[in-house]
């Protein structure tokens, strides 16, 4: 059982507070969805958990299996098993997906790394995600569409097999078919490995495929309302303004 706990986390960037006394606990086998209007700190939350040093932690703790990881470098967090599927993954010309993934997996597996198994798994996953098999030899996200970049994130998740999966708007830029593929692929991974999943989304449609146990609405840097999947349907029907407005009234 892996537990990621966020305690009273306050975070700022450029003097502006983004997260305020944020609290959340996620355990293996749980899927949490964070929803909320733009600019409420949803993406910041995932980046801070991953260790983005552009953000300054003013107070509070990020705790993984009882250990405070506030000052842990990003690669060490990844080695613990934390994975962030990014909203806008950067394109890196010249560094091939194959070299990148091989380096990442070799770092994780050390002497247990097997090149043939790696090649086979990549082939299977590119097929499953309906990706061009040549993409593995291209630069990281180089010339990829928004949808291809998201699929590449999911491919990496499947290769690296994390314990804590953070997915930041993994549904944006995806057409209906790709959304289904990505959603189902995340759920297959979830059923197989039972990670803790924290996904950030704006839309209920992703939750047709990835079934959350908990839904949280964020506003002004912290969670203002939590519930089960029915909360997503309520958001779809009534909108954030009305729901979040209700909280404050």
């Amino acid at each position: 059982m892996n537990i990621l706990k966020i305690e009273n986390l306050t975070v700022e960037i450029g003097g502006k507070t983004i997260l305020k006394d944020f609290n959340l606990e996620i355990k293996s086998g749980e899927i949490h969805a964070i929803m909320g209007p733009n600019g409420t700190g949803k993406s910041t939350l995932t980046k801070v958990i991953m260790g983005d040093t552009n953000y300054k932690i003013i107070k509070g703790k990020i705790i993984y299996n009882g250990k405070v990881i506030n000052k842990m470098p990003v690669n060490e967090r990844a080695k613990l098993g934390i994975f962030l599927g990014m909203q806008m993954p950067v394109a890196i010309e010249g560094v091939s997906n194959a070299d990148f993934l091989r380096s990442a997996l070799r770092t994780k597996e050390g002497d247990n790394f097997k090149l043939l198994s790696f090649i086979k798994e990549v082939e299977e996953l590119t097929k499953k995600l309906h990706m061009d098999s040549e993409m593995i030899h291209r630069g990281i996200n180089d010339g990829f569409s928004g949808g291809e970049r998201k699929k590449n994130e999911i491919l990496q998740m499947n290769i690296l097999k994390p314990n804590i999966v953070l997915l930041d708007e993994i549904d944006s830029g995806l057409d209906v078919d790709s959304l289904k593929l990505v959603g189902e692929s995340v759920m297959d991974y979830y059923k197989d490995k039972k990670p803790a999943v924290l996904l950030v989304t704006h839309y209920q449609r992703l939750l047709d495929y990835i079934k959350p146990d908990f839904i949280h609405i964020m506003k002004d840097g912290h969670i203002v309302l939590s519930g089960d999947k029915s909360l997503a349907l309520k958001i779809e029907k009534e909108g954030y303004d009305k729901l979040v407005g209700d909280i404050y009234e």
Binding site: A78, I92, V95, D99, L101, S103, T107
Partner: protein, 262 residues
């Protein structure tokens, strides 16, 4: 395939069926040798230079409708080379150049003299001492294209400089001129990029970019977020930066990179 091997003061030619080549003294007083090449058929030319201690001027003429690829690799020496290219109508020249010398000073003059002539340059260098590359690109005819890409990694005592000037004369319509230069500076030394566009014509597409610095936070964060250490991340990014677009000398360049970034 033609090969020009320059070692010390010796210049050796192998297989020159598609080119006419002559070697001579450009200046006895200044100890400058010259290599004149006329490319008469579609061909590839390999230029390998090592431990050269002479000044050398290249005159390279690409005839009408001819496509030529020049792959150049120079290492272990102090180089003072000058290149003058003359491209005729519908000619197409690609140059890939790998530099791993001690001190290098180069002047490259590209004359796009015929309509629809295309010149693509891709230079990669690992600068450890003083290196200065000057480019003058003259669009002397309509619809000519130049793509000048200069990439360098500056290490140890390196001081790297790229100066690229592109000229489009009035009346030379439909030209396309692109200059990209980037230096990854891993030292406290200063590096310089001077990109200049001198354009006296409205019907031109012109782009230039110049960047000196390290790799971006986003690139480093992305790779490290998959568990890769900072050292290996920088190695991967450096390899990618230098290898991009290199074909013929790719394996040699990989070996050079591995020497510096194990």
């Amino acid at each position: 395939m033609n090969k020009i091997i320059i070692n010390g003061e010796d210049i050796k030619i192998e297989g020159n069926s598609d080119i006419e080549i002559s070697i001579g003294e450009a200046s006895k007083f200044l100890n400058v040798q010259s290599v004149k090449i006329k490319i008469i058929k579609n061909t590839d030319i390999i230029i390998e230079a090592s431990e050269v201690d002479i000044k050398l001027d290249f005159y390279i003429n690409v005839l009408k409708d001819i496509k030529a690829n020049i792959y150049e690799y120079k290492h272990d020496g102090d180089y003072k080379f000058q290149y003058k290219y003359y491209l005729e109508e519908n000619s197409h020249l690609n140059v890939e150049k790998i530099c791993d010398g001690k001190n290098i000073k180069e002047m490259t003059v590209i004359n796009l003299n015929g309509e629809n002539a295309i010149a693509n340059f891709n230079l990669k260098t690992i600068c450890k001492s003083l290196e200065k590359y000057n480019f003058l690109v003259y669009h002397n005819a309509k619809n000519t294209v130049s793509n000048i890409l200069n990439n360098g990694v500056n290490i140890l005592d390196g001081k790297l400089e790229f100066n690229v000037s592109g000229f489009v004369l009035n009346g030379m319509t439909g030209c396309n001129i692109d200059q990209k230069a980037r230096i990854i500076n891993m030292t406290e030394n200063s590096c310089i990029i001077k990109p200049n566009l001198f354009i006296d014509e409205e019907d031109v597409i012109a782009n230039h970019s110049a960047l000196i610095g390290t790799f971006s936070f986003e690139e480093v964060f992305y790779l490290m977020s998959r568990g890769i250490s900072k050292k290996e991340t920088l190695n991967l990014l450096t390899k990618g930066f230098l290898l991009k677009g290199i074909t013929y000398y790719k394996e040699i360049l990989k070996e050079i990179i591995n020497e510096y970034w194990r």
